[in-house]
Symmetry: C2
Subunit: 338 residues, 2 copies
């Protein structure tokens, strides 16, 4: 076991896009634990789009990250010391911990054990975890996608979008995606069962949607907001549903001027923002349900893994820029199940 | 009975605001009816905001009005000749008829009798009719307003808005309104039970909402879109609901650039456009239900009546400009119940 605990801390609030200057590494001794506590050796650190908003002092539903403190994030790890009867050394777990090698956890109430027979343990914070359940809430619970509908998913290869698109496909919809590189477009078509995909960096969304869904859009799973959302609003069918999961294009500040919101009335459409924390009541049954879909081949999932804790800031910055193909994780210690 | 049937026809599609040049009056003989048909003497012609959209060749849910034809509209009238056993001479009725003195109705399936004991017969196309039910659908069915919430209604004195605000008040909410003249502001406070009202022509909505609901908005019943909607989006509370009934500020063309739609995610808000035609399944029980509310004093209603069919274009144009206080109707023949 390492004698040091490397922590990745917030050094400064970003102005515009996050840069490496916003982070600082800190070395601390590995903490001691007291009765009732556990020590987790962290294996996978999550990099998620919502983190950009919290780096800027908070978004509507959550406070901002604190300067000088390790960045809070979802983490998969293994119990290395336990002084709590509910957890044993060797258990795989996930929780909202921090970007660091070892976490001393005083309050284990939110710590969840991972069933390693359901899939790779990293999936506990991706397809079998909150990002996957986010896709399910948006596409199934809110949009109530139906067979024969035309569905569009932005950020189509992302941690959430890639699941949302495949859930729509499994429901019998025709599924269009957008992504920011030709590699991602290929990945969607070859691995993620999308019917058609465009690169929004080389073709304006309005033109691509006219080409790929000339009869309009029934469901838009919005991960990006901005120009793409506006292009969709001009092309929705009657009774369209737009679950709004995120507006990553706007996280660096500056509200994009939406011009086509009037169509919400004309088409009797519904737009609904949601975050997964409001839908945790059904979470416990989710990993088993999604693992079954994966066994049936309805959903495939791809982690995009960066190694070494020192690379965590660059991994997040790259993800916000769109470098990842699949769920961006940082592996900071050995995963004994791989 | 008059020997002539004056019709108000669409002469040209407006560019920008509708003007009197867009209409033309035509004289026709009073039509003869055949077996199975009825002849209706029209008494009240409706002027509604949605008509502006249909004058421009249609909106999402409906085709445009036809050039050279009488303008279709909701009408209250009285049967003056019947060759259909379901209707008797003297029956008060309402239906989607046309801006004209006499309508020969071949298909009576949508013709509805008015119970004159529920209230003034003009109410059949206002508070006891579709505009009132529109308010109920938006405020009760979609927004599900609750006691203690802060509710904002734009076009607060309008045919729909004035009912929406009073339904929220009856549910125990604090209700804020906006209107376009000081007379309307006074009318809201004196007659319509609003807690606070501002004149959006003399105070920007953003400033007024900061002043009148500094803790934010739970429900916004949107009749206007544009700058007001954008100001609301910046001030919504978590789980806000925005039933979108209309965007009258945008009917003359030109999409207002909404900058604060990102808050739909941050606040997990819901925006839903609706039109009353999708909610007709519960309509039959509505007039009795609303009449009971009116008897209990929960809802008061004010018609804004213009006389003479020749004034119908000016009545519509004035309503679109905001001249009316209450539901704008044109009385084109004698109402024997008043």
């Amino acid at each position: 076991m390492a004698l040091e605990n490397t922590q990745v801390c917030l050094a400064a609030y970003p102005r515009g896009a996050a840069t490496s200057d916003n982070f600082v590494l800190r070395q601390e001794p590995v903490p001691e634990i007291a009765s009732g506590e556990v020590l987790v050796r962290n294996i996978y650190l999550s990099c998620d789009p919502y983190m950009r908003g919290r780096m800027s002092g908070g978004v509507g539903y959550a406070a901002g990250f604190s300067l000088g403190e390790p960045i809070p994030a979802r983490v998969v790890g293994q119990i290395v010391q336990s002084r709590n009867p509910a957890f044993s050394e060797g258990d795989f777990v996930w929780d909202f911990l921090r970007w660091e090698n070892f976490t001393r956890l005083k309050d284990v109430r939110a710590l969840r054990k991972i069933d390693p027979t359901l899939g790779p343990i990293s999936h506990a914070i991706s397809v079998l975890g909150m990002p996957g359940r986010t896709a399910e809430v948006g596409m199934i619970d809110i949009a109530q996608v139906k067979a024969g509908e035309t569905v569009f998913v932005s950020a189509a290869t992302g941690a959430v979008g890639s699941v949302a698109g495949q859930l729509a496909k499994a429901a019998g919809a025709r599924v269009i995606g957008s992504a920011g590189t030709d590699d991602k477009v290929r990945h969607c078509l070859e691995n993620l069962r999308y019917d058609a995909v465009f690169n929004y960096r080389s073709e304006p969304p309005a033109r691509a949607l006219d080409r790929l869904c000339p009869e309009g859009i029934d469901v838009y799973f919005d991960n990006v907001g901005g120009e793409t959302l506006d292009a969709v609003l001009a092309r929705i069918k009657p009774f369209a549903r737009i679950p709004v999961c995120g507006m990553i294009s706007q996280y660096d500040g500056g509200g994009y001027p939406l011009r086509n919101a009037g169509n919400v009335v004309g088409k009797r459409a519904m737009m609904r923002g949601f975050i997964i924390y409001d839908h945790m009541q059904d979470f416990d049954t989710y990993p088993t349900r999604m693992a079954a879909r994966m066994r049936r081949g309805e959903v495939r999932y791809f982690d995009d893994i960066v190694d070494d804790i020192e690379n965590t800031p660059a991994a997040l910055i790259g993800m916000l820029r769109g470098d990842n193909v699949g769920k961006r994780l940082v592996r900071i210690s050995d995963d004994p199940t791989r």
